[in-house]
């Protein structure tokens, strides 16, 4: 499949955003318009006068991707051009779960035909790894650092897919860049559905999470195999498909120890109890989703 993201972009070696964007565009094909709010992906792909995008692309602001996408969809409709052209949002977790949630909520409630892909690397990477609403429990970030009296981020991830499903979205799915076919197929499926669809793509960041540049895909797979990131599809609010991990399930510490952001859990007193809490999150996922 042809890549619609040109080389020469300034993403880090092993960049998850570049991989996620490439997969998403493989799902939609070239007849699409991309809306990309503020974040690494935006900055690294469009240093003026260059752009890495081989499809029409727009960056407006941080918190308005849902609205800009709504306007593009409405504009295309009014001009009689919406027939085939897909409207694809590629946004980070901060731009989606935090600052952009009003705008995505509005777009989904109104029912615009858009495909919204959240590329979730679990922190504000563009500004230097600050905590977002998608940062997992106990991850050390620059604004939720582990310290003498802290194990890092004190809260679990916001459940964004469920929030989007509650909007009455016909298609909500989680995916991971560790499973390329899964991601490409889900974006493809979303682009064939009328109305707003939401795909939440788990995307490990070599720089922000602290692992070797060659491990981006390996870490992504491990998140799924531990049960910490379940892959599922929801159609009209009902879970219709789950990717089983069955007997291949891995303990969470195998995932955690691959990453610098969880390193403190293996050195601090009380770390084992904290890892047990993370294991409990995975166990609950395994039970809830029947992984």
């Amino acid at each position: 499949m042809k890549s619609l993201l040109a080389p020469g972009h300034r993403g880090c070696a092993g960049c998850c955003d570049a991989i996620a964007a490439k997969f998403a565009l493989m799902g939609t094909g070239e007849d699409c318009i991309v809306i990309n709010p503020t974040g690494c992906l935006e900055v690294m792909t469009t240093p003026y006068p260059e752009t890495a995008w081989d499809v029409p692309w727009i960056h407006s602001l941080f918190e308005n991707a849902g609205a800009v996408a709504s306007g593009i969809e409405a504009g295309l409709k009014a001009l009689g051009k919406k027939d085939k052209t897909k409207v694809l949002v590629l946004a980070g977790d901060g731009g989606t779960l935090d600052i952009g949630i009003r705008s995505i909520s509005g777009a989904f409630e109104r029912g615009h035909s858009i495909i919204y892909v959240c590329i979730d690397n679990e922190a504000y990477m563009n500004t230097g790894v600050q905590r977002s609403g998608a940062t997992p429990y106990n991850a050390s970030t620059t604004t939720s650092p582990a310290g003498k009296v802290s194990f890092g981020n004190p809260r679990p991830k916001k459940n964004m897919p469920e929030i989007m499903a509650a909007h009455g979205s016909p298609y909500v799915a989680t995916t991971s860049i560790g499973f390329p076919k899964d991601m490409i197929n889900k974006v493809k499926k979303a682009s064939e559905i009328e109305g707003p669809s939401y795909i939440h793509a788990h995307s490990p960041c070599t720089t922000g999470w602290g692992f070797d540049t060659s491990k981006t895909i390996e870490v992504a797979k491990m998140a799924v195999q531990t049960g910490l990131w379940p892959l599922y599809e929801m159609e009209n609010g009902e879970i219709t498909k789950v990717k089983k991990i069955g007997k291949n399930v891995k303990p969470v510490d195998e995932y955690l120890k691959m990453q610098r952001r969880f390193k403190h859990l293996f050195t601090m007193e009380g770390g084992a109890e904290e890892i047990a809490k993370i294991q409990a999150i995975a166990d609950k996922n395994i039970e809830d989703f029947g992984l």
Binding site: P47, W57, I58, L61, I72, S103
Partner: protein, 404 residues
């Protein structure tokens, strides 16, 4: 040049100001309308919604957004795919749009947005002043201010033509005083569809977001490029100066109606005192001028229609031979104790051979009535300045001293 405004009495109907604006918007054949309700803008968007419900605006989508921030953000997308766009807002809504205002003008995306001018909170106040749009003067939007309902209606079509001009490509605000113009019924000529189709060409931008020619919009410009984009925006504003005049003349040729271009003048020919103002207060000032002219008081009015771009040359030409300039501001630059029109007027006279004193009055805030006797007192004080020089350069007037 002042022109006679030929209103066709046969065509006149009595409608609310908001309806006249909504009708004008419809007549301009917009493709996307995106708005969020806020007093006193609501009647405009309600009327447009009814037009939509009745199928009266063809090839148009109305987006009922969840905030003003999204109202304008949606139009960034719509304009980028080549749609003619419209929104309306006021006060808090406009303040919420602040970031998007810069973004849209920076991307050089034309649109028209009616600002139904209202005071900003706190204290919360829904009535008229012009602090909301004045506070957005550096965002790269053309700002036009209307005196009455006929003008704001006709200004809508003019604003599209200015904004969409290839030498301009800057979004435009058309500003009308909240309640005073938006909620008042007056006889007006509703913008004529046949004439508007003649006046306003179809919007056909050179560049759009189109999969057939995939361009990127909104790239980030580093210090090697950013300055040049700002320079080009300023050039566009300078181009708009001429375009605003041209469009007012073209409008006159087709519709027979004229309100001035960048500015308008009223009895300024031999005036010692020139009052400068924007918006609906113009009507009151004209009445006072007529009354005083009957007593041989040499007072005239300079109506500022375009606040952005600021019509420096046009103003200089009018005030050159006056003995005092009086600015009326329904806004304040806090910390400077001045309204914006006062500051800007002084700034364009400095470094010139024009040596006319400028005094400023801040009034009409939060919907306070501007009465005839207030204007008369201001003119008395202007006479005092001619006789004895400036004592107070800028001040609030009609303060309720008893509650301070």
């Amino acid at each position: 040049m002042p022109r006679e405004n030929k209103l066709d009495k046969e065509k006149m109907v009595v409608v609310e100001g908001s309806y006249a604006v909504a009708h004008a918007v419809k007549t301009c054949r917009p493709n996307v309308i995106s708005a969020y309700p806020i007093t006193p803008q609501t009647h405009i968007v309600e009327d447009l919604s009814q037009f939509m419900a009745d199928g009266e605006i063809p090839n148009c989508e109305y987006i009922n957004v969840e905030s003003e921030f999204s109202a304008l953000s949606a139009l960034v997308g719509s304009a980028a795919v080549g749609a003619r766009c419209y929104s309306a807002t006021t006060a808090q809504g406009l303040a919420l749009m602040h970031e998007v205002l810069f973004n849209m003008s920076g991307m050089r995306l034309p649109t028209v947005m009616t600002i139904v001018n209202r005071a900003l909170s706190a204290p919360i106040n829904i009535w008229n002043d012009q602090q909301d749009s004045i506070s957005q003067r550096d965002t790269g939007w053309i700002q036009l201010y209307a005196e009455d309902i006929q003008e704001i209606s006709d200004m809508t079509a003019q604003a599209y033509k200015i904004s969409e001009d290839k030498d301009v490509l800057m979004p435009a605000m058309t500003c009308m005083d909240g309640f005073i113009l938006s909620h008042v019924y007056e006889p007006v000529v509703l913008l004529e569809q046949d004439l508007t189709d003649k006046f306003l060409p179809k919007y056909e931008p050179e560049y759009t977001l189109d999969p057939k020619d995939p361009l990127s919009y909104g790239a980030f410009a580093d210090p090697n490029y950013y300055t040049e984009f700002r320079y080009l925006q300023e050039q566009a504003m300078q181009n708009a100066l001429k375009k605003i005049e041209d469009v007012a003349n073209e409008f006159y040729d087709i519709y027979g109606r004229y309100y001035g271009g960048l500015i308008d003048e009223y009895r300024t020919e031999d005036a010692d005192i020139i009052i400068m103002a924007m918006g609906s207060v113009i009507g009151t000032v004209k009445d006072v001028i007529d009354k005083l002219r009957n007593r041989n008081v040499k007072v005239g009015l300079l109506k500022v229609r375009a606040f952005r771009p600021f019509p420096a040359d046009a103003i200089r030409n009018v005030v050159r031979d006056a003995k005092v300039i009086v600015t009326l501001d329904k806004n304040i630059t806090l910390g400077l104790n001045e309204g914006a029109l006062c500051t800007e007027t002084k700034s364009i006279l400095y470094n010139t051979d024009i040596n006319v004193p400028v005094i400023g009055y801040m009034l009409g805030h939060g919907g306070r009535d501007i009465k005839v006797d207030t204007i008369e007192r201001i003119i008395d004080e202007a006479h005092e300045v001619i006789r004895n020089g400036i004592k107070t350069e800028s001040q609030f007037i009609d303060l309720r001293e008893e509650i301070l």
